[in-house]
C-alpha cells in the first residue's frame, strides 16, 4: 500500500489512532487549530461520519442488528463515501487532511470481532495509507479510567458486548479494549506508526505533534494564500517567483 505522497497526490493525509480515551481527538483538534491559524488549507474528517450511511449505522447499532461482517462492511461503506467524495478531491486540491481514526481502526476492531485480517485489509485496499500516522499509546488503565471515570452508560457495540466476553458492560469493555490494543501494537511496524506517549500532559504531547508534523511536511506549500495548483511547467516558474518575493521581503 502506498502513501498519498507516493501516489503523487499534492495533498497530505495525517491520521491519529489509539484507544477510546487515549486523548487522540484532543490532539488532532489542537493540531487543526494551529494549522488553521497558520493559514493552511486543512480539512478534518472523523471516523463513522458519512451523512449517507449514518442512519443505517445508528439503526444497526441501536437495534443490535450488526454482526462482525455487517459491522465491518457498514463502516467500510462509510469510509468509502468520505474517501471518494471528500478526502480524494481535497487531497487532489492540495489540502492537508486530518483524520480522527483511519482504516487501522477497522483493522483492529474487525479482526478483534473475528473477521479474517486479509478479508478486512482487502476490502480497504482501495485507500492509500496516511503520510503520517500517530498512534497515541496510553497505559490501558489510563485510557479505561478516562472513559469509565464518570460511569457512563456504555453502548452495546462500544463495549464489545456482541463478543459475549462478559455480561458486565464495564468488564466487557476492558477486555475488548485490551484486545484492540494488542491488534494495534501488532501493526505498528507494518504501517509505520509514530508512537506518541499519551500518558504525558496534553500540552507536552501537542508540542511533539506539531514538531513532528512540521518536520515531516513542508507546511508552507499548503498555505491558503498560494494560488491554485498549476501545471508542472508553470509550477517551477511559480517557485522561482516565490523565491524572488521571499528575497524582496
Amino acid at each position: 500500500m502506498k502513501t498519498f505522497a507516493e501516489s503523487q497526490f499534492p495533498g497530505r493525509l495525517i491520521a491519529v489512532e489509539g484507544l477510546d480515551g487515549s486523548g487522540k481527538s484532543t490532539q488532532i483538534y489542537l493540531l487543526k487549530r494551529w494549522l488553521e491559524a497558520e493559514g493552511i488549507k486543512v480539512y478534518f474528517s472523523e471516523w463513522n461520519s458519512s451523512e449517507l450511511v449514518k442512519s443505517a449505522t445508528s439503526k444497526g447499532k441501536k437495534r443490535e442488528l450488526l454482526t462482525p461482517t455487517t459491522f465491518s462492511l457498514i463502516h467500510a461503506t462509510d469510509f468509502a463515501d468520505r474517501y471518494e467524495r471528500h478526502l480524494v478531491p481535497l487531497l487532489r486540491a492540495g489540502y492537508i487532511v486530518l483524520c480522527d481514526r483511519y482504516i487501522f481502526t477497522a483493522f483492529a476492531r474487525d479482526v478483534t470481532r473475528g473477521c479474517p485480517p486479509d478479508w478486512v485489509r482487502g476490502n480497504y485496499s482501495f485507500a492509500c495509507i496516511p503520510d503520517l500516522t500517530m498512534f497515541f499509546k496510553a497505559d490501558l488503565d489510563v485510557s479505561l479510567n478516562r472513559i469509565l471515570e464518570g460511569r457512563p452508560k456504555l453502548k452495546f457495540f462500544e463495549a464489545g458486548m456482541d463478543l459475549r466476553l462478559s455480561n458486565d458492560p464495564y468488564e466487557s469493555f476492558k477486555i475488548f479494549q485490551g484486545r484492540i490494543l494488542d491488534q494495534y501494537l501488532a501493526m505498528t511496524k507494518e504501517f509505520n506508526f509514530v508512537i506518541i506517549d499519551a500518558n504525558q500532559p496534553v500540552e507536552k504531547q501537542q508540542v511533539i505533534v506539531r514538531k513532528l508534523v512540521s518536520d515531516r511536511i513542508e507546511l508552507k506549500k499548503f498555505k491558503r494564500r498560494s494560488p491554485l495548483p498549476l501545471p508542472p511547467a508553470l509550477h517551477v516558474v511559480r517557485e522561482e517567483i516565490e523565491k524572488e518575493e521571499d528575497k524582496a521581503a
Partner: protein
C-alpha cells in the same frame, strides 16, 4: 444439499459451511429478463410439492435497504461506496435469512446474487480480485441460472412494462451517453460481457430467455427437478 457446501472465500466468522444443508438456487438476469416471474413460478411449483422456500433479493435488507434507496435517488454514490453499500445489504440478508434458512434445510431462491453485484461493479471499474475477496463471504449455490436476453429485447420489454428506463439499469452514472436509450443498450451489453467474464470463475448455467415465459419455466423445472432428485 446436493454437494458439500463451501464458501467462496473466508465465509462468515463462526459459521460452519457443512451446517448449511438446505438448497440454494440463484436466478440471475437483467430487469426485463423475466427473473421475478420465473421465481414466482418456482415458488408456486416448489411449495405445491411440499417444499419450504425462502426468497431473497437485492436491496431488501432491514439494515440498509432504505438508506441505499435514498442514496441512489440522490445520485451521490461513487463506485466504491456503491459496491460496499450493496455488499452490506447482501451480508445482512445472508446472515439473517439465507444462512438460517439453509441451516433449517429450506430451499432458498435468490432473485439475483453476488454475480449481478460484481458485474455492476466491474463495469464501473472495480477490480475483480477486490470483488472476489469482498464476496468471499458468500456460500456457493447449488445452481445458478443466468437468464440471458439480448439488450435490444430487454429495452423493448422494459419500455412495454413501465414506459421508462431505470437510471441505474441504464448505467446513466457511467456517462456512456446522454441519451438514455443508447446508454441502456451500451450498459446492458457491458453487463453481459461482465457476466461472461465472471462465468469463467463461477460456472453458471446460461438460459436463453429471449424465448417465451413458458418455455423458460419448463427448462427451469426440468433442471431444478433433476437437481432436487439427487438430494
Amino acid at each position: 444439499m446436493i454437494k458439500p457446501r463451501r464458501f467462496y472465500g473466508h465465509g462468515i466468522p463462526h459459521v460452519n459451511s457443512e451446517d448449511l444443508r438446505g438448497t440454494l438456487i440463484v436466478v440471475e438476469g437483467a430487469d426485463g429478463s423475466g427473473r421475478s416471474t420465473q421465481i414466482a413460478e418456482l415458488v408456486k411449483w416448489l411449495e405445491t410439492s411440499g417444499r419450504a422456500t425462502v426468497q431473497v433479493g437485492l436491496k431488501r435488507s432491514t439494515l440498509v435497504s432504505e438508506e441505499l434507496e435514498r442514496a441512489q435517488e440522490g445520485n451521490v454514490l461513487s463506485r466504491t461506496t456503491l459496491a460496499l453499500f450493496y455488499a452490506t445489504d447482501f451480508a445482512d440478508q445472508l446472515e439473517n435469512l439465507i444462512l438460517p434458512a439453509l441451516k433449517s434445510g429450506f430451499i432458498v431462491l435468490a432473485d439475483r446474487y453476488i454475480y449481478t453485484l460484481m458485474a455492476r461493479d466491474m463495469v464501473r471499474g472495480m477490480n475483480e480480485t477486490w470483488l472476489k475477496n469482498l464476496y468471499g463471504i458468500a456460500p456457493e449455490p447449488d445452481a445458478v441460472f443466468y437468464l440471458s436476453v439480448e439488450p435490444q429485447e430487454l429495452v423493448q420489454r422494459n419500455l412495454a412494462k413501465t414506459a421508462t428506463l431505470d437510471y441505474w439499469e441504464s448505467g446513466m452514472d457511467l456517462g456512456f451517453s446522454r441519451d438514455m436509450f443508447d446508454s441502456f443498450l451500451k450498459y446492458q451489453t457491458a453487463m453481459g460481457d461482465a457476466f461472461r467474464e465472471l462465468q469463467k470463475s463461477y460456472h453458471f448455467e446460461i438460459i436463453d430467455a429471449n424465448r417465451s415465459i413458458v418455455s423458460v419455466t419448463r427448462e427451469l423445472h426440468k433442471k431444478i427437478g433433476a437437481l432436487l432428485e439427487q438430494d
